[in-house]
């Protein structure tokens, strides 16, 4: 039969509805703190701190210079104020820029990991034990500032795939790092990117050699644990010609009253005919119901389709953080290259999100597709901000954008800021936008069929977000559906 009666891939997800219902009443369940001794830098930011971080990481001299250059540039910059978010001034001298769990760094094998840390990841539902791992997902876990361990390393190495922490990559693969680091997001790119370059402490590095199709999902799990700590990770993914990789990151943080800063940089490089699929399930602590605490998530993510026929696809499910400021972008340099952005951003209570994408069409016959779904509840504000740029040589560029907003209640806001710059008259750029409310009518209709309100809301929002959810790897689609329901707990009825 042509139309799938039981879209088998989605079927499990639907059976999860029961679980959704059970979890709907739970509060932020990742808000525990692990009692681990940490090795920290002194509070505040200056050249000494940067030297401290670099020394801790046993970095080569060129890396330290690179950091110091970024730092001196950062000092000349001003914090951007154009985003549709409000927050008190951040005191950059009141942040601890490096915190490492005190344990033997670089465990030779995963058994050497501190049992407390191991427990942390088990609580998060992430097991580092290779034999127990979800089949086909290799994980790199980053807690506070350092990478704890990477699973499935051996198996990946046989294919020539490098998947390790950024610190290790700097030591073991300096040529690759030197060539590509900050080639997509320059250290001068923006305030938070410059700050990240100066102080980043770890992150994941991933290299897929020519013609290799990575046989498993690669995944990084980030967790902020220590108090007053910023997390500044940096991820670099290089996909050589004809290769393919699917990568997923997940993030959580303990519940704390003060705000924590997270300023990450992600760079993706796709060569000719290569494809990178990058998925994010972001669930940093959003603050409490009154808007106290939560993570400031100021992230720069950008990929470049360097070669012809390259493809980069971003999929994000953003449910956490007090403030999200993030625009995963694609530079479409190669001819016939493709950029995609699929996003679901949920804001509840006093959360604020200003998120979207930039599609820079430079090559000929380049295509991009943007699907953004914003869900706002409580007193939150949710903005889509996107730029579609078609350069003067980008003949026959095509873009399709769709931005839909769903409102729950009447105290929240949804905003759309689409920017379109077209310098070549052969371009076709389409933009569609809708705003709707979860209606009493929809909920009553479900109720009348025997479906309780919380389940009804979960059905409605998952229907709304479906187009994006379908782009997530299966294992995470279920998790993401649950997250949507949890984030909107108590916002209707």
């Amino acid at each position: 039969m042509k139309t799938e009666l039981y879209p088998s891939k989605r079927n499990d997800a639907e059976d999860e509805l029961r679980t959704i219902e059970e979890t709907v009443f739970s509060d932020y369940k990742y808000g525990f703190v692990t009692d681990i001794e940490a090795d920290e830098a002194p509070r505040g930011l200056n050249e000494e701190v940067i030297r401290f971080i670099s020394a801790k990481k046993k970095e080569p001299e060129w890396m330290l210079e690179w950091r110091l250059k970024a730092y001196s540039y950062w000092l000349t910059m001003k914090e951007p104020g154009w985003a549709n978010v409000k927050y008190p001034r951040i005191d950059y001298q009141d942040i601890i820029y490096y915190s490492a769990p005190k344990q033997k760094i670089n465990p030779k094998n995963l058994d050497e990991i501190d049992p407390e840390l191991r427990k942390t990841f088990e609580k998060l539902g992430i097991s580092l034990d290779e034999q127990k791992r979800l089949s086909g997902v290799a994980v790199d876990a980053v807690i506070d500032s350092v990478s704890i361990g990477t699973s499935f390393k051996g198996q990946l190495a046989e294919l020539g795939i490098i998947f390790c922490s950024m610190s290790e990559a700097i030591r073991e693969h300096p040529d690759l790092v030197k060539e590509h680091l900050s080639s997509v997001v320059p250290i001068t790119d923006n305030y938070f990117a410059a700050l990240n370059a100066a102080v980043f402490s770890d992150g994941s590095f991933c290299y897929i050699p020519k013609g290799v199709r990575c046989p498993m999902e690669l995944s990084t799990y980030f967790r902020i644990n220590a108090e007053n700590t910023g997390q500044f990770e940096r991820t670099l993914i290089i996909a050589e010609a004809g290769s393919y990789v699917s990568y997923l990151e997940g993030c959580t943080a303990p519940m704390r009253d003060e705000n924590q800063l997270h300023a990450a940089v992600v760079e993706l490089i796709a060569m000719e005919n290569a494809e990178i699929k990058y998925s994010t399930v972001q669930n940093w602590y959003p603050g409490d119901k009154k808007g106290v605490g939560g993570v400031y998530n100021f992230v720069t993510k950008r990929g470049i389709c360097k070669g012809d026929h390259a493809k980069i696809s971003w999929t994000q499910v953003e449910t956490g953080s007090a403030i999200t400021w993030k625009y995963p972008s694609v530079i479409l340099k190669g001819d016939y290259s493709t950029g995609e952005f699929y996003s679901v951003a949920v804001t509840n209570n006093y959360q604020q999100a200003d998120t979207g994408t930039k599609m820079m069409h430079l090559g000929k016959n380049t295509k991009s597709r943007i699907v953004s779904k914003g869900i706002s509840a409580g007193f939150s504000n949710n903005s889509y901000r996107g730029l579609v740029h078609v350069g003067k040589n980008a003949r026959n560029a095509r873009n399709f954008s769709q931005c839909d907003s769903l409102l729950l209640g009447d105290k929240c806001g949804a905003h759309t800021f689409p920017y379109i710059e077209v310098r070549n008259n052969s371009a076709v750029v389409e933009h569609e936008a809708t705003t709707s409310k979860i209606g009493e009518d929809q909920i009553f209709y479900c109720n009348q069929r025997g479906i309780p309100t919380e389940t009804a809301v979960a059905l409605i929002i998952n229907g709304f977000a479906k187009e994006v959810m379908n782009h997530l790897p299966m294992e995470f689609a279920i998790e993401a559906q649950k997250l949507l329901a949890i984030s909107l707990e108590g916002s209707v009825g």
Partner: protein
């Protein structure tokens, strides 16, 4: 099965129902007719538990339970079904998934295990054949882009899947051409048995040519002013609602 006594209800402070009395027994089909604004849809919505409506007086007993005390989803669990006059659209929500969730929620309410995929599929195939509904319709998002006839057929299909004790059809004929009315009515008739009952709310007699009622009640100014057999519906068709209005005002004048 259903016993309504002296029911008064309204919306936003406006009184609409002014003392409804009605008894429905298993196996019966009742029709509520009346001019626009007489309170027909209000009655259907109050019975289904829509929260915008306030009940100020009266009782409703359904299968021995105080119906007004139950949340809408519990009323559904008890076996009450409302076929909506305007079924809502839920974009992105697959119709089959929606019905599966509904069926299993109702089963859960009744203390039954949820149907597994295979049993659900079997039940669905059976009802699809009975209702003459094609799968392509059910594979789409719930009611999204459905024609008027498709929406109503989907309502009756859901009714078949949920097997209610009492089905309320709220102006199911509105906006349908005669062929669609016939299809929808045939569906309803196939579901009738000695243990369930149907309450048909309609403005026109023509639906009652297909779903033949045992009793017809005329609603006017929020009250049942006349009850009779199916001949009453024909009389209304012939003479219009004016004769009821005139009779009623004559009675009130006395």
């Amino acid at each position: 099965m259903l016993s309504i006594q002296d029911l008064h209800a309204g919306i936003e402070g406006k009184k609409i129902l002014n003392g409804i009395n009605l008894d429905i027994k298993p196996g019966e089909v009742h029709a509520i007719m009346g001019p626009n604004g007489s309170g027909k849809s209000t009655l259907a919505n109050v019975l289904a538990g829509r929260t915008d409506y306030e009940v100020s007086r009266g009782t409703v007993e359904f299968l021995g339970k105080d119906l007004l005390d139950l949340a809408p989803e519990k009323r559904a669990g008890e076996g009450l079904f409302l076929a909506f006059q305007y079924p809502v659209e839920i974009p992105g929500l697959n119709t089959i998934n929606f019905i599966k969730t509904a069926v299993n929620e109702v089963r859960k309410y009744r203390g039954l295990e949820p149907l597994d995929a295979v049993s659900f599929l079997k039940l669905m195939k059976e009802k699809m054949a009975l209702m003459n509904i094609e799968q392509s319709l059910l594979s789409r998002s719930l009611n999204e882009g459905f024609s008027g006839g498709e929406k109503k057929r989907n309502e009756v299909f859901q009714m078949a899947m949920l097997e209610p004790k009492l089905a309320i059809l709220d102006e199911t004929d509105s906006g349908l051409d005669i062929d669609a009315i016939r299809i929808v009515s045939n569906g309803v008739n196939k579901l009738r048995n000695k243990d369930n009952a149907v309450l048909v709310v309609t403005h026109y007699q023509r639906l009652l040519d297909y779903i033949v009622p045992d009793f017809v009640h005329v609603l006017y100014n929020g009250r049942i002013v006349k009850s009779g057999t199916k001949e009453l519906a024909l009389e209304l068709e012939e003479r219009g609602y004016d004769f009821i209005k005139n009779e009623t005002s004559a009675v009130e004048a006395v």
